[in-house]
């Protein structure tokens, strides 16, 4: 009899909501906080999206503003400035991805190979620092460094006789594009290594020992153990980054903007700010933002499917 009772107790593996709540209610209460935050800041504003189908006037509110159907979208898609902003956003985000995405991986691999712990820590801290600088500060420092004739870099190069005329780092659009992208990489690459370094620490040390016994040198160990070990992290981050291909960072663009490079600097964030917010055309700004988000979502889903087809875990 006693035996039977014991067996029954062991077999019961399913937990009801009620018993789970009774056991862990403190944890569920804690879970409530992030859930409320996500709800409030990500979903509670959704009803406000109906303004994309309205000629929304702030003083008239939702009730007083006129419904216009898809007129706002039609207007945006017919606007040549929108085309310019869309083209620039896609091109620069792709370029950012191509130039910026591999850098943290390479950096993480290099940092991982450093053997002197103190040097490694100092290097990491220095690499993380730019992440904490605002774009306004980076922009003004860049201006001081890269002005065409009075910037520090150009003055040095001219004084040493390497160049005769200042390089237009910030005031000619192609030079600007390179400067803009490289400063972006510099700002984000250190911070980006954190996830990869965390993934690397998860790789079993035994694999490396075995490889060393088999005579694999550092390059081979990196190539055959470290990289495959962080592959799923790389794929996850790649998918997440693809979702941002339509996005753009207004602070970064404003910090580096001037009238000479508007051809390239005019991206969707600038478009939304200038034509939407600055012009009190909230419907227009919201419509472009919604468009950005939908394309971003589609790209994430698509790349997730592709990743799964290729045998990866994917994101969703």
């Amino acid at each position: 009899m006693a035996k039977g009772k014991e067996a029954k107790a062991v077999v019961r593996t399913e937990t009801t909501w009620k018993s789970a709540w009774k056991r862990d209610w403190q944890l569920y209460l804690l879970l409530l906080i992030p859930l409320i935050m996500v709800f409030v800041f990500s979903y509670a504003a959704y009803p406000g999206l109906r303004m994309v189908f309205m000629d929304y006037k702030p003083a008239k509110g939702y009730d007083g503003s006129e419904w216009v159907g898809l007129a706002t979208f039609r207007k945006i898609f017919a606007d040549s400035d929108f085309h310019r902003a869309l083209r620039n956003s896609v091109v620069f985000n792709l370029a950012d991805l191509v130039v910026g995405f591999p850098m943290p991986i390479i950096l993480a691999l290099i940092l991982n190979e450093l053997r002197y712990a103190r040097f490694k820590k100092v290097s990491q801290t220095i690499l993380y620092l730019p992440h904490f600088l605002s774009w306004a500060i980076i922009g003004s420092v860049a201006l001081t460094m890269f002005k065409p004739s009075s910037g520090l870099v150009n003055v040095m190069l001219m004084n040493t006789g390497i160049i005769e005329e200042g390089i237009p780092f910030l005031n000619e659009k192609w030079h600007w594009a390179v400067t803009y992208l490289l400063i972006g990489v510099w700002q984000s690459m250190g911070w980006g290594t954190i996830l990869y370094l965390a993934a690397i620490t998860g790789i079993s040390g035994e694999l490396y020992e075995a490889a060393m016994i088999d005579g694999a040198n550092r390059w081979k160990r990196m190539w055959h153990i470290t990289l495959p070990g962080i592959k799923s992290t790389v794929v996850t981050l790649l998918i997440m980054n693809l979702g941002r291909i339509m996005g753009s960072n207004l602070e970064r663009l404003v910090a580096f903007g001037n009238t000479q490079v508007k051809d390239f600097q005019y991206q969707l964030a600038v478009y939304i700010y200038n034509k939407g917010l600055n012009n009190s055309k909230f419907s227009m700004g919201t419509a472009v933002n919604l468009f950005q988000s939908l394309i971003g979502l589609a790209l994430v889903i698509l790349s997730d499917r592709v990743a799964k087809k290729l045998g990866e875990d994917g994101l969703l």
Binding site: Q26, L29, L30, L32, I33, I36, M37, V40, F41, A44, K57, P58, A59, K60, G61, G64, D81, L143, K147, P148, S149, S150, L170, N171, N258, T259, Q260, K262, N274, K275, L277, N278, N279, S280, F282
Partner: protein
């Protein structure tokens, strides 16, 4: 057991606190300014609770539970301030005030300082009104108002110096009309000033009375906007007096560079629509239709002949090396610093008795000699450049004030009372000059002279002697005559005195105005959709194009101008011209004087 119980209580308490913290962000608290001032106002309310209580009871004694200013004044048969009674229930009056950023505000906090408290103590408490100031970022007026409107939290009145902005607000439903007869009763002094200056003719938007208009003394001149120049450099270059034409100016600039003054004109990027004004590059008398359709500066008239002349001049200055080649990357503060540091020939700014820029300049160069550019009193046009000493005068009105759509009847009355109270001579005087012996002293003629440096004083005034508070009444502080007024704003405590030149400049401008070479902009009594639709876009485009035209090679200028000008028209300016023309032909505009 006890420990577990404690843990549970703590967990619940922390969860509750954090959840509340999250939800706190979802309230409908008003935007920045009023938020910042809430704590102070709270304490003011507390301290005044007793007074308010007694006022309330006295109002009830009067036998009218629904007491209000107008009804009270009506009951006593007296119009204006003498007939006012306090409100029975506390009324909140929200007044916008420009926030010009740390360097421009004077006092540290525009919504809560000695002078805002002074208004509350002397006006608010007396009539049971809680006066709250709402900070409006000077460089983002439309945006700030839009945010307030979206939160259904517009101040009691909306106000701006630009007619277009008021017209847009009216069309977008921010405003409500007001009862002129009621205004005349509550604010007879204010209304009389409007009548005396002909401003009662400009109250209407879209056929209804919306605007209460502050007064602009000397509206036919711009004498407070002054350009200083290095007289010592000019003399060194062999010139006895400041050139009257652009041709002569070019000769002077060439000499300045020869004398080792690199980039004498310094320069900074275009900031704000008012920068590239083409009034001195127009032909006079102006063609009325061109004046009505392309005559303002809010949307720069790139395709106009005047703007072309102006930009050609800029192109020459750039290519001859008189302007800093990096001007388009530089802030206005850098150009100012150039002047202070002896690297620039000129600097322009509003003149006031306290001028930190000039103080700093003379600290660096105690022996330097400065001059003020004086407008010649006869019309002089340069044949080569088409330039002249014509200018854009102001109007007789300064600030334009309208009731916001969410102002209640009592709030509207409180707003009218505020205008009338501030228009009283003694109140206006204290707001503009401050306290005797602290903010100003009387000179031997009995005229007030502002203290140059007020920093650190508890009574430190806001930007330009509190202008952002008293601007609702007058745009410029006045003592009744131009001589006194110029003496009052003549910069103090400097090695040089500029009184004579400032007066000569004013007289020169008035002479030009009298001769018909200074015309106010055309005003539209209707809101123009194309202006609201394309205004900002065109301004952005202009900033881009004007730099391209300034920096192109001189031989490429004409072709590039044609191309960009056409593009500008295609991007919306043609629609603006067409709509303005239609309004002009329908008689919905002012006429060229």
């Amino acid at each position: 057991m006890k420990k577990r119980y404690l843990q549970k209580v703590l967990a619940v308490a922390m969860t509750g606190a954090m959840a509340l913290g999250v939800l706190a962000g979802c309230g409908s608290e008003p935007a920045s300014g009023s938020n910042e001032s809430s704590s102070a106002q709270g304490s003011e309310e507390e301290s005044s609770a007793e007074d308010a209580g007694s006022e309330e009871s006295s109002a009830e004694d009067a036998g009218d539970g629904e007491s209000s200013a107008e009804e009270s004044s009506g009951a006593s048969g007296a119009a204006g301030i003498d007939g006012w009674e306090p409100f029975a229930d506390r009324v909140t009056l929200k007044i916008p005030v420009y926030d010009r950023g740390d360097s421009g505000n004077g006092c540290s906090d525009v919504v809560n300082n000695y002078w805002t408290k002074w208004v509350q103590d002397n006006f608010g408490e007396k009539y049971n009104i809680d006066v709250q100031y709402v900070a409006i970022t000077r460089t983002a007026v439309m945006n700030d108002y839009a945010m307030l409107a979206a939160g259904q939290d517009l101040p009691t009145v909306c106000m701006e110096y630009d007619y277009d902005k008021l017209a847009t607000w009216q069309a977008d439903g921010y405003l409500q009309p007001y009862d002129v007869e009621q205004f005349k009763t509550i604010a007879p002094t204010y209304w009389q000033t409007m009548v005396d200056n002909g401003n009662d003719a400009y109250t209407k938007l879209a056929g209804e009375d919306y605007l209460m208009l502050g007064y602009r003394p000397y509206g036919n001149s711009t004498y407070t906007w002054v350009t200083w120049y290095r007289k010592d450099w000019m003399k060194e270059a062999g010139f006895e007096e400041y050139p009257k034409t652009n041709t002569e100016l070019l000769e002077l600039y060439a000499k300045l560079v020869e004398n080792g003054h690199e980039y004498p004109l310094s320069g900074s990027k275009v900031a704000g629509a008012g920068v590239d004004q083409n009034y001195p590059y127009r032909d006079y008398p102006q063609d009325e239709l061109t004046w009505a359709t392309m005559g303002d500066y809010q949307i720069p008239a790139l395709p106009s002949e005047a703007q072309k002349r102006f930009l050609k001049w800029e192109n020459t200055l750039y290519n001859e090396g008189y302007k800093n080649p990096e001007y388009y990357l530089r802030e206005a503060s850098e150009a100012e610093a150039d002047f202070i540091n002896g690297k620039a020939f000129t600097w322009s700014g509003y003149v006031s008795s306290t001028m930190t820029q000039l103080n700093s300049f003379y600290e660096n160069f105690p022996d330097a000699e400065l001059g003020v550019i004086v407008c010649p009193d006869t019309f002089v046009q340069d044949e080569t450049w088409g330039s002249s000493n014509a200018y854009r005068p102001g109007t007789n009105f300064g600030m334009m004030i309208a009731l916001s759509n969410n102002a209640t009847e009592d709030e509207a009355k409180a707003a009218m009372m505020y205008l009338e109270w501030l228009a009283q001579e003694e109140n206006l005087f204290t707001m503009t000059w401050g306290e005797e012996g602290v903010n100003f002293n009387y000179d031997e003629n009995g005229n007030p002279v502002a203290v140059g440096d007020q920093s650190g004083l508890e009574q430190q005034q806001g930007h330009n002697n509190n202008v952002d508070y008293w601007c609702v009444v007058t745009a410029i502080k006045t003592l009744g005559s131009i001589e006194k007024d110029i003496a009052a704003i003549n910069p103090q405590g400097l090695p040089q005195d500029f009184y004579d030149e400032l007066l000569a400049n004013y007289n020169g401008q008035v002479a030009i105005w009298n001769e018909g070479y200074a015309n106010s902009d055309c005003l539209f009594a209707v809101s123009l959709d194309s202006v609201a639709e394309y205004g900002n876009t065109l301004y952005d485009l202009y900033a881009e194009y004007r730099d391209k035209l300034t920096m192109c090679a001189p031989e490429e200028f004409d072709a590039l101008y044609e191309e960009l000008s056409q593009n500008y028209l295609d991007q919306g300016y043609q629609e603006v011209i067409d709509e303005r023309q239609a309004a002009f032909e329908n008689g919905q505009t002012t006429k060229l004087q």
